[in-house]
């Protein structure tokens, strides 16, 4: 019996039992009330009370058995688990019905159960984070067992390619030490594309935010804001297509006009398009921040005779700086982790250069390329993706933490 079928059978058996428990529990409470006994809770609550008695222990046993067999402690036969859970469900049903007495606080008990259910749902988000950290850390450790951390951090050559031959059982055709895992060129590419993106997004986003919050009328603002938000709703794969098919040829043509030689997978094009993607993040966050600066600051400045732009430059922006920085950092963290645009428009050749017209590759591109295709799950190339992912996760996480800290400080100051 498959695990899906077992679960289905268990739920199919518990559903009518639950209905039965509800009817019986409510019936018992109703008949007691008809006999003039004053019950603590409403009859439905006694119904649900016996449902809980019936279902919770049975499901608990089933889930525990599932977890135990998943982690390989013991693996009881699925039929056995099914029968035992159903037996426990019947016992629970009997106990639940027996327990219904006038002084039993079914309502309070129900609230307690629901509280625990809700708490366990909330804990899933913690479990997710822990799972991300552990799974990526674990696979990355396996990678660092084969490749030294020092080489990974400082090496300037990234060529995992030959491990493919080793994985195919042709390792002897490859010389010693032909695969290199020096991640510097990848991070250089990521840095370059992030820098270009932020150079595009920051001026456009910040100036648009200033217009919307300081100059625009209510109607203009209500019109401009949702239009800018459209940019945030466009899938990244669409941006990638736009970068590769439209922007790259334009850049190559412009470069040729100035007598420069641009690659058809230059890093400038994905950088600019990524910047376009980030504009709404910068503009809406900065807009919020600028709006939350108290009116008294502006009025004070106007009273001293400053023009609007002087007020903005000398008073508003310095006051809003922590918020703007935090928007900037969030934008950077987006750009670092952005995948599709670079996969579709940037190169795949690790290249250490300062020239944005050359092709470069990024961390996310190498993660994607080392995990697609038919690679062995434990080859260093596959595992390298997890090492890169680990670094990416740590960097973006720290950026987010710094950014939330700055915003909180800012809010405390003005709220």
């Amino acid at each position: 019996m498959g695990i899906g079928l077992t679960t289905l059978l268990l739920l199919a058996a518990l559903a009518p039992l639950g209905f039965l428990a509800y009817r019986l529990g409510r019936g018992k409470a109703l008949s007691a009330m008809a006999a003039g006994i004053s019950m603590h809770s409403r009859p439905q609550q006694y119904g649900w009370y016996s449902v809980v008695w019936m279902g919770l222990p049975a499901l608990g046993v089933a889930i525990a058995a599932g977890l135990l067999s998943l982690f390989g402690v013991i693996s009881p036969a699925r039929e056995l688990v099914l029968i035992v859970s159903l037996a426990i469900a019947l016992l629970g049903l009997a106990q639940g019905l027996r327990a219904i007495r006038p002084e039993v606080r079914a309502r309070n008990a129900l609230d307690g159960v629901i509280r625990w259910l809700l708490l366990s749902a909330a804990l899933i988000s913690i479990v997710t984070t822990v799972a991300i950290v552990l799974s990526i850390l674990f696979e990355a450790m396996r990678f660092f067992r084969e490749v030294s951390v020092w080489e990974f951090v400082t090496g300037t050559v990234w060529s995992p390619g030959d491990t493919f031959l080793e994985a195919a059982g042709r390792g002897d055709e490859v010389g010693e030490n032909t695969s290199f895992f020096g991640s510097v060129p990848l991070f250089a590419g990521t840095f370059m594309v992030t820098a270009i993106a932020m150079a595009t997004a920051l001026p456009i986003g910040l100036l648009s935010a200033i217009f919307m919050s300081e100059y625009a009328s209510h109607r203009q603002r209500g019109f401009a804001k949702p239009i800018l938000e459209i940019l945030a709703g466009i899938p990244t794969v669409v941006y990638g297509f736009f970068a590769a098919i439209t922007v790259t040829p334009i850049i190559v043509d412009i470069a040729a006009f100035f007598g420069l030689d641009a690659s058809y997978s230059n890093i400038l094009s994905p950088g600019i398009v990524m910047g376009i993607m980030i504009i709404p993040f910068i503009s809406s966050l900065s807009d919020d921040v600028i709006n939350s600066i108290p009116q008294s600051l502006r009025q004070g400045a106007y009273a001293l005779g400053t023009t609007k732009s002087e007020t903005i430059q000398k008073v508003i922006l310095p006051a809003a700086l922590p918020g703007v920085i935090s928007a900037f950092l969030l934008g950077v963290s987006r750009a670092l982790g952005e995948t599709m645009i670079v996969v579709m428009a940037a190169g795949v050749r690790p290249n250490l250069t300062w020239n944005p017209l050359e092709d470069m590759t990024t961390v996310t591109v190498s993660i994607v390329y080392s995990l697609t295709g038919d690679l062995a799950f434990d080859s260093p190339q596959t595992l390298s993706a997890f090492a890169l992912g680990l670094v990416l996760f740590i960097v973006t996480l720290s950026l987010n933490l710094v950014s939330t800290y700055l915003v909180r400080r800012f809010k405390q100051k003005y709220d």
Partner: protein
């Protein structure tokens, strides 16, 4: 004397004040220019995508005589007249041997029908590709004679992926998207709403609650590709969920959508004013009764809006799905969440990496469909919010 006076009174004729006003105008112009740059980019973007893709909704069809002769029993191409073999699609006659086998009376008969044209002919007629002059003359003559027509490309919506651009469609990817979103919704919606109810209505203000809150905010900002790595390592590696299946894709996207749903549900719950809770408590409701009978019904529109927005985001996501293997070549629509599937954005990605020019049009058309769906979803969310939003 006059200059001193003008300085003192701050007259508009003072050159320094003029300079300041000029500066003011310049700065305002910069901000307007920035906003218009952004608008111009949006317009250019949509014009570009639509102009590249709209032609894919039509396709050229050729009127051919299918001759079910002996040679066509083995190779479908031989059912076509010799001069049609470079014009009609290879894919359209591929199934002829099977047709004859299933229906032996067909053998020896002939039949006139419209079949899709070879993609290069189609592209030539749309002015996107050149043909050898002789072939071009033949095609032009056929258009004159009315044996080549252009008709709405229903096949784009009803067929799956194909190696032949003229037959490729988005159907299987659309089915895959629906399956993935279904799994995402079933997984993320109950857990997300339950977490939000706990945090907003039940949780005491202690370390654990704060830890959960910080966690959820951080999860919302983790790059999507990291969720792909998690899905690969945990769902595929540890739990043994089949690779490329809608199940693993949906679970991965579910983890990603979870924080979005939690955050928007909390906002919706917080918007319900406290007097409503206090009133219910005063009537003797337990906390759960307050939430179930009073707070949840009032915040439902907000919760649904947040969920739709989260789903729209999940629908456009590609990177984590590539990592869990959802870019396989899927010509036939998957029929369960355990089968290999692909989704619309992943289909766009696969077509975009095809070197043949005819696929550029398909890619852009796929994007148009995707954007149309996403815009509809987001518009629905905005509509729901406008219609049901209550100011207290």
């Amino acid at each position: 004397m006059s200059t001193t006076q003008s300085r003192l009174t701050g007259s508009a004729n003072d050159p320094r004040i003029k300079a300041r006003y000029r500066k003011e105008k310049r700065f305002k112009a910069y901000t307007i220019a920035a906003l218009f740059t952004a608008f111009a980019i949006i317009v250019a973007f949509f014009t570009d995508i639509i102009s590249q893709g709209y032609t894919a909704f039509w396709r050229a069809e050729v009127n051919v005589t299918l001759d079910y002769n002996e040679r066509a029993e083995r190779i479908g191409r031989f059912a076509l007249a010799e001069d049609m073999r470079d014009i009609a699609s290879r894919g359209a006659v591929r199934s002829i041997p099977l047709e004859i086998k299933n229906n032996p009376e067909l053998a020896g008969t002939t039949r006139q029908t419209w079949v899709p044209a070879y993609s290069r002919i189609d592209q030539y007629l749309k002015g996107r590709e050149e043909l050898p002059p002789e072939l071009a003359r033949q095609v032009d003559a056929m258009v004159e004679a009315g044996t080549i027509r252009s008709s709405f490309n229903w096949a784009f919506f009803t067929s799956g992926d194909s190696k032949l651009p003229e037959l490729a469609g988005i159907f299987s990817a659309a089915v895959g998207s629906v399956l993935v979103l279904f799994v995402t919704l079933v997984f993320a919606f109950p857990i997300g709403v339950m977490s939000a109810i706990y945090l907003e209505e039940f949780a005491p203000d202690n370390k654990l609650t704060q830890a959960i809150e910080v966690n959820i905010n951080n999860l919302a900002a983790v790059p999507s590709i990291i969720f792909g790595l998690l899905g690969l390592a945990v769902f595929i590696g540890t739990f043994g969920v089949p690779r490329s299946s809608a199940l693993v894709g949906g679970l991965t996207l579910g983890l990603m959508t979870l924080p979005i749903i939690i955050i928007s549900t909390r906002a919706a719950l917080r918007a319900v004013p406290d007097p409503i809770r206090l009133g219910a408590f005063a009537m003797g409701c337990s906390r759960w009764q307050v939430v179930r009978d009073h707070v949840l019904p009032l915040s439902l529109p907000g919760i649904l809006t947040g969920t739709i927005i989260g789903l729209a985001q999940a629908m456009g996501e590609t990177a984590p799905l590539i990592i869990v293997g959802m870019i396989a070549y899927i010509p036939d629509a998957p029929s369960s969440i355990f089968e290999s599937a692909t989704v619309l954005p992943a289909q766009v990605f696969t077509w975009a990496s095809e070197p043949r020019k005819a696929f550029v049009e398909k890619t852009a058309a796929g994007i148009i469909v995707l954007l149309a769906i996403l815009l509809t979803l987001n518009a629905t969310a905005v509509f729901l919010r406008r219609k049901f939003e209550r100011r207290w």
